[in-house]
């Protein structure tokens, strides 16, 4: 943590945490509301994930075909070039990219509409339309320009070392998002909807923090122990969900939401109670600062906020990739995630798989909590330390289509939004909420591929623009 930066905008920081906490709460309420109306929300939400292809190598060749009607097996006489083109156009990567593009366009329209100068020039649009378009251009390009400069490279600085700082900020913000996104995405692949990111992050941060500020040790042992403590706490918190689901059949969405509340109030209580997590001599619900020996070291020197956590998360991404795509455990995970019945018949212990998958997912989300306490805010923990990341992680996992490197890229994109959003607000006066709108639009479009296809006139994979075969979608009476 760069002390200079910390001093720079303390007010904004606090404001952001408050906003994020609110944001988190809204999502929770929305999900609870959805639960009441929709009997099986997880299927609805995870459908785009489940429908996406499994083998990363065959990514483009797959999703397109699953939608084809039962009687239509793809013909072999089809020209290869056409097929490849169509598959690429309908491949998840291109659709994700187009979703981002269209979200930015709509975001741009909103920036223009809310800009004072644009509104003013619109008043005499027919007299001088040039003014209007000029104002639109200034507003949108200024906003996105500052977003870019705040997230990637600041051209205002003289030397490369300072100019590149925004990019390192982006990666710093991305670190916990990727970790938590991996946790949510892994659960998705096993057919579980993990919205317990908040709780898992909180317990992990508390455990890592407690080890971090209570036990002075040499760094080479203190840091690993603190990280492992956090991982273990997150894994247990996630594992409880898997265990209860396996044993009682309770739905993981309800379990994770409730465990979020339990974690939040439990940690809040501990932070207010002297002798537990509260800093000695303090009246604030805040823990002591993490000892220097347990803080994640800055990897680019004191001028950059980027810490070792980013490397750890990159390794974790590679690990999850290996797990899902190369290991036999991952093979069974994916089998359970796509067809638990067939997995059961194939001798997979589906219940145990749920427990292990949720424990792993909880551990990964816990890693995000660890990054927060040992990397982002080592000066002490509050009950808002999760900063809404547990919920943003759902978005990141969806955008990354639950594929480890997809999540990695999506996490960096969202990290860039975080880093650049405030720069945009500071320099252009465009509300940071616009960034939130763009983020949400991206996922909205990703969840609705037909919308993207309609906008960009891409034919659907089965050659029809709108109608999907009804027989596949309707639930028939089973014998």
């Amino acid at each position: 943590m760069n002390p200079e930066n910390e001093a720079e905008q303390p007010a904004t920081r606090a404001e952001r945490r408050r906003q994020e906490a609110e944001h988190a709460h809204e999502i929770e309420e929305a999900v609870v509301a959805a639960l009441e109306t929709e009997p099986v929300p997880s299927e609805a939400v995870s459908a785009p994930v489940g429908g996406a292809p499994v083998a990363a190598a065959a990514a483009t060749a797959t999703a397109t075909k699953t939608a084809a009607p039962a009687e239509a097996t793809p013909g072999e006489e089809e020209p290869a070039s056409n097929r490849v083109l169509r598959e690429i156009m309908n491949g998840p990567v291109v659709l994700s990219f187009l979703a981002v593009l269209i979200a930015f366009i709509i975001g741009g329209i909103m920036i223009a509409l809310t800009n004072d100068e644009v509104q003013e020039t619109a008043g005499y649009f027919f007299a001088q339309p040039g003014d209007f378009f000029g104002a639109v251009w200034t507003a949108v390009s200024g906003a996105y320009g500052s977003l870019f400069q705040g997230a990637v490279y600041n051209f205002g600085k003289d030397d490369f070392a300072t100019g590149i700082r925004p990019l390192t900020d982006t990666l710093t913000y991305a670190t916990p998002l990727i970790a938590a996104g991996l946790g949510v995405g892994l659960a998705f692949r096993v057919g579980l909807f993990n919205i317990g990111g908040r709780g898992q992050m909180l317990v992990a941060a508390a455990a890592a923090g407690w080890v971090g500020f209570s036990f002075p040790m040499p760094m080479w042992i203190h840091l690993p122990v603190a990280i492992l403590a956090g991982l273990a706490a997150g894994a247990i918190w996630g594992g409880i969900v898997g265990f209860l689901k396996a044993r009682t059949g309770a739905h993981e969405v309800i379990l994770t939401i409730m465990l979020n509340y339990i974690a939040f109030y439990l940690i809040s209580f501990m932070l207010r109670t002297p002798g537990l997590l509260q800093a000695p001599g303090s009246v604030n619900p805040k823990s002591p600062a993490i000892l220097e020996s347990a803080v994640l070291p800055l990897i680019l020197g004191p001028n950059y906020k980027l810490h070792l956590g980013f490397i750890i998360v990159a390794v974790a991404t590679a690990g999850v990739w290996w797990l899902l795509n190369r290991s036999s455990t991952g093979f069974r995970f994916r089998a359970v995630g796509t067809n638990p019945n067939a997995a059961l018949v194939a001798g997979v212990n589906v219940k145990n798989t749920y427990v292990w998958a949720m424990a792993l997912a909880g551990g990964l989300v816990g890693l995000a909590g660890v990054m927060q306490i040992l990397g982002t805010t080592p000066d002490g923990m509050t009950s808002g330390i999760d900063a809404g990341i547990g919920f943003d992680a759902i978005t990141v996992a969806l955008l990354g289509r639950s594929r480890p490197w997809g999540i990695f890229a999506a996490g960096i994109l969202f990290g860039a939004f975080k880093a650049g959003g405030f720069a945009m607000q500071a320099s252009e006066g465009v509300s940071v909420d616009i960034v939130g709108v763009v983020q949400s639009l991206i996922v909205l479009f990703i969840a609705a591929p037909p919308l993207i296809r309609a906008i960009f006139f891409i034919p659907a994979p089965d050659g029809k623009l709108t109608r999907r075969p009804l027989r596949r979608n309707s639930k028939a009476v089973s014998a």
Binding site: V54, T62, A72, S327, F331, N339, A342, P469, V477, A479
Partner: protein, 511 residues
Amino acid sequence: MKLELRGITKRFGNFTANDRINLVVEPGQIHCLLGENGAGKSTLMNVLYGLYQADGGEILLDDEVQEFAGPGDAMRAGIGMVHQHFMLVPVFTVAENVILGHEQAGFAGVLKMKEARQRVRDISARFGFDVDPDARVGDLPVGVQQRVEIIKALSQDARVLVFDEPTAVLTPQETDELMAIMQQLRAEGRSIVFITHKLREVREVADAITVIRLGKIVGEAEPTASNADLAALMVGRSVDLTVHKEPAQPGAEVLRVEGLTVLDENGLKVVNDVSFNLREGEILAIAGVQGNGQTELTEALLGLQNKVSGSITLNGAEILGRSVRTILDAGVGFVPEDRNRDGLIAEFSIAENLMLDRSTGEPFVKAGNVQRAFRDEFATEKRTEFDIRSGGINSLASELSGGNQQKVVLARELSRDLKLFVAAQPTRGIDVGSIEFVHKRMVATRDAGVPVIVVSTELDEVVALADRIAVMYRGEIVGIVPSNTPREVLGLMMAGERHTEAPEAAHEVTA
């Protein structure tokens, strides 16, 4: 009403599912549409029903060209469809299902249920159906559900009725009853399109037969044509419909089931005190009407049922109560009844599906890593050996036809070192060519000394494959009889009559 299809062409991408199909169905005629799975029959009917829009050609009713934007238009024009997978809402009553989509409401939007019930009763009376308008559809047997579909179509006064593989889910008795209903409808002057791939049914009711292969009409046949001729037309080559096998050479006893009882979730006995044994090199067929405990019996053998009592010993070792993993490792091969639900993972490639139940150790997994080179090599080999027709080993299971999907399941199970092979409904919903293949492999498995249990509701299949036949009724085995037992006797046993004359049967039951 005369139905005429002229030059119907339907493409999915570059795949032509229907290629210039011409078809004329006269009033009072049952026109059979015969073809393998994936031949394009259902696509054609979905075009007719307005679910798909044709890329070319036209639909004529009584010589008038029709434009169907959706099923609603088709229904209004007088086309009714009885789907293979019923389009009914299970929690609705019969009457509610029948009016669904054509609800007539009175004051304040209150549904006119009284009229709806009366309508169901009227139609039921006309055809001699015994359908209670207030019964919940989900509680009805499959055969009755199908009648609800027929009533639904007739309540819209459908003059053209399409039956899409209606017998796939029916028992032999229900099938016969359906045939009678179709003949009755024909007598009323309705035009009937009957889609099937079961040759016996075709010959029983058809007035005209059109055979489709690979999206094209390949020929018309008279109902008097022989099974072999029809089958040859369907698959494009001559097909061996009889199963050639030598008499069984039973060896040592491998499987012994004693007093096996399985309870369902509600604590009801779905398998009741079943005992039988099985020796090396023989095929035991379990016959019976669907839903008499066969499914639960096979699942109990694989350890998939929870509430079981009694004893199942495989080569002297008790396997009852063991995990599925242990039982698979003990050498039990299993082809589940519903391959899409239990046998395959649609989103997985053929190669991945072929290693589905072998993901715990060598040769497919070493040190926690899937051995992808070995997996692909294995898949390539099995794809050739089992004639799995696909784009390659990386094709998804969902892209395969039913027959090829079943070959994947068979390839996976038969390539393990088996001590017992259990196949539930191994040929359900697959084409003639694949059935022949599946039967051959099962006999080959038997001849290799592996005992085989095959569960089937098709009497033809039971008789063709079995060395001994066990008939199940309401969870019990009513008798185990030799394969040369007359069909009438088997039919009576399937209806619950105990077969006491055969001393062998009595011996087997008490064994």
